[in-house]
Subunit: 468 residues, 2 copies
Amino acid sequence: MRTSRAVLASVRTIRSLVESPRLGEDATVNGWVRSVRRMKKVAFADIGDGTSADTLAVVLTPEQSKQLSTGACVQLSGKLSESPGNQKFELQVAEPVPGKPDPVKVLGPADQSYPLQKKFHTAEYLRTIPSFRWKTLGNSSVLRYRSYAQSRIARYFESAGFTQVSSPIITSSDCEGAGEVFTINSGEPDKNQKQPYFFGDKPAYLSVSSQLHLEVYAAALSRVWNMAPAFRAEKSDTNRHLSEFWMVEAELAFTESLKDVMTVAEQMIRAAVPDSAMAIDIIQSNKQSSSTKQETLKQRWQMLSQPKPWARVTYTEAVELLRKEFPSLKWGDSLSSEQEKHLAAHIIQGPVFVTDYPMHQKPFYMKKNAVSDETKATVACFDLLVPEMGELIGGSLREDDHQTLLSAMNDNNMNPDDLEWYLDLRKYGSFPHGGYGMGFERLVCFVCGVENIREAIGFPRWAGSCVC
Amino acid sequence: MRTSRAVLASVRTIRSLVESPRLGEDATVNGWVRSVRRMKKVAFADIGDGTSADTLAVVLTPEQSKQLSTGACVQLSGKLSESPGNQKFELQVAEPVPGKPDPVKVLGPADQSYPLQKKFHTAEYLRTIPSFRWKTLGNSSVLRYRSYAQSRIARYFESAGFTQVSSPIITSSDCEGAGEVFTINSGEPDKNQKQPYFFGDKPAYLSVSSQLHLEVYAAALSRVWNMAPAFRAEKSDTNRHLSEFWMVEAELAFTESLKDVMTVAEQMIRAAVPDSAMAIDIIQSNKQSSSTKQETLKQRWQMLSQPKPWARVTYTEAVELLRKEFPSLKWGDSLSSEQEKHLAAHIIQGPVFVTDYPMHQKPFYMKKNAVSDETKATVACFDLLVPEMGELIGGSLREDDHQTLLSAMNDNNMNPDDLEWYLDLRKYGSFPHGGYGMGFERLVCFVCGVENIREAIGFPRWAGSCVC
């Protein structure tokens, strides 16, 4: 690999230049012009290529700078030199020499109609220019964090003995109610086809969660995880929901304790807290934000990486704790988003696992806790709540007794035939297990301080909107 | 993380036991019974948990062994001891002590109707039992290799300065012809809805490739890659095609040379060649296969990791080379799968990049080569061919000139309005770039010697089949 990697190294990224500048050397740099400032005798430009939050400061003659405009793609050659200004170093563009390649080469011009002129743009405006919205400093940092978090989460799971699997996207299991799922077909949607369904005698859906399939994988491999797209056909128009989003899900065999599942969830998120380089990237990308926002972000990261284990309270305790602020709240009520945020931000002041919710609030597959009072039946589950965001993760132990699961399906008016393959896991070699799912974009919002989840994913989809 | 990881370590996987057995220690092991052999005075069982191709040999009394049956999930406690047999060590199950937990605990029984009794099962049969098919040694090894390859590919890209992105699955761009794409809608497929489309005034499709969206990411981040599901609504019933598969795609800004793109592709695959531990896992999982198959696999891995760079020939050269065997082949013809395999297996005898195909064979976005004879127009593209498999990767430089791309779309009878966002990338700050896509399951088939691609993915989907 050494030889080949050298080929790629012939084009240096701005990130590699910033990390090891080698002052005094000749360098050729590719990137897009972020800004140009022209004075009488000298001109300056900032060049970025998105590999880093840093831009490269470039010094050239006013004549040379005439070719540069905001948004243009350029290739510049010159010498890396110490900088007298704020930057640590700069590229001093060479003078043109007749008969040699021009040290200023415009690869792709951008005229004044370029939609990303140097000024503040609202998130709503940027969404209307999908080809360019990720070129802003703030947005590109979110994408770099996504990549960082994916990498760290993958490494965490690998170190903890988990196998990464790929759950299906197209599924015949419509386990959460037909109203919220997308159906798929081949050909034009309104055309009447002789064979109504591409996959046989049943409709097919887009997966709303990988969990049920992950349990099959866990039966084969013990510890599995998955990062895959999930889909909800909900028409809700909020800043927390998308029709298409990515979920990180894990399933752990041979545990009879919810604590193990929470431990994996906590370790996973701790692994995705920005390290110092990533932290600088995010802070730098928020340099136009208020210092309050920057402080908030730093506090969030500290909160996640606090030395002591994250708080764990039962639902019953949470209701007690919340009653001071919400006196009408009583056992059995669902916690509202406002209550969840209040619990994490003001009572616990940090991330908190709320466990053992009332059974009637939760899906059929969760394992029932032993209780003396059946009117207070609970299941072995948890929600992870964080300040200002609310729910980040939901998880549970899974019911592993065939008869109990069958009864739960009947109680939920489900047809067991539809999930025979899932029930089969309890018929032969059933195993105690549990797992959880995290909406990846929610983590991105929380860590990067993104207000609307539509800015946490490359090409957001919601009811009425599928641009590109 | 140290504290919490210890919690998980309290349940030791068979892989961790095999890697560091600590002989003489007491151990509790969870897993599924692969087989039981009962003699007069002693009984043996093999226990596996899917974390490794290894099983744990267990010694117990004939009385204790009565509880064990193939497929049952058990928890066994005893002492790890040196083994007199083939295994390096074994677990000697403790004798039961009244008042203490039984050293043999059946977590989930399996009676004789368990569909995976110890004998040979065909792949077709295993597909009919989706809940259990991944529990066989051979199949579970394929899943472990998938995870290994994903991890190594991710690490390679990270080391080469690529940002991992997530392209959209739902798209409004139907760029490869409506016949082959899946359409999506909400609600039941045949229901007439007032608003016909969930996402607005246009139908939405499942992505057939991330490439076009990856180019948007590359315009923001320079070097990007993606591993995402892709979908084809083709009715072809072959051992090489799936309706849902995973693609690894990469896009590289600031290259005007196809060589750079091929270099990245080659480095990526080299990174995914099994290391010694993974190689042992795959070979061990093929222990019931012929020794010929085991040799074939080893040869494939050696072929991929050969010290010299992989062969590169142009399409024109390939046609010349193939004419000896296929005399009727002439310039301009598509290479058949048979011809592709022949070229790689018999002429080159290894992986080979075939470059610069005739323009008329390839999609509109590929960059045209400069040629003197327009009847021999070619594009800067490549297919990577490997013996016995044929095409593994396709890639190209992308046309980055706005007018040329527009003409190419018109020549292909495409409506430029449908891809305005894609054309826009060439309007402002256009950049030379190229990239490629690899069907991940094809790599899995080649490396693991899987005959049918349906055995290379957890839950295969094809026309007429969507089990689970």
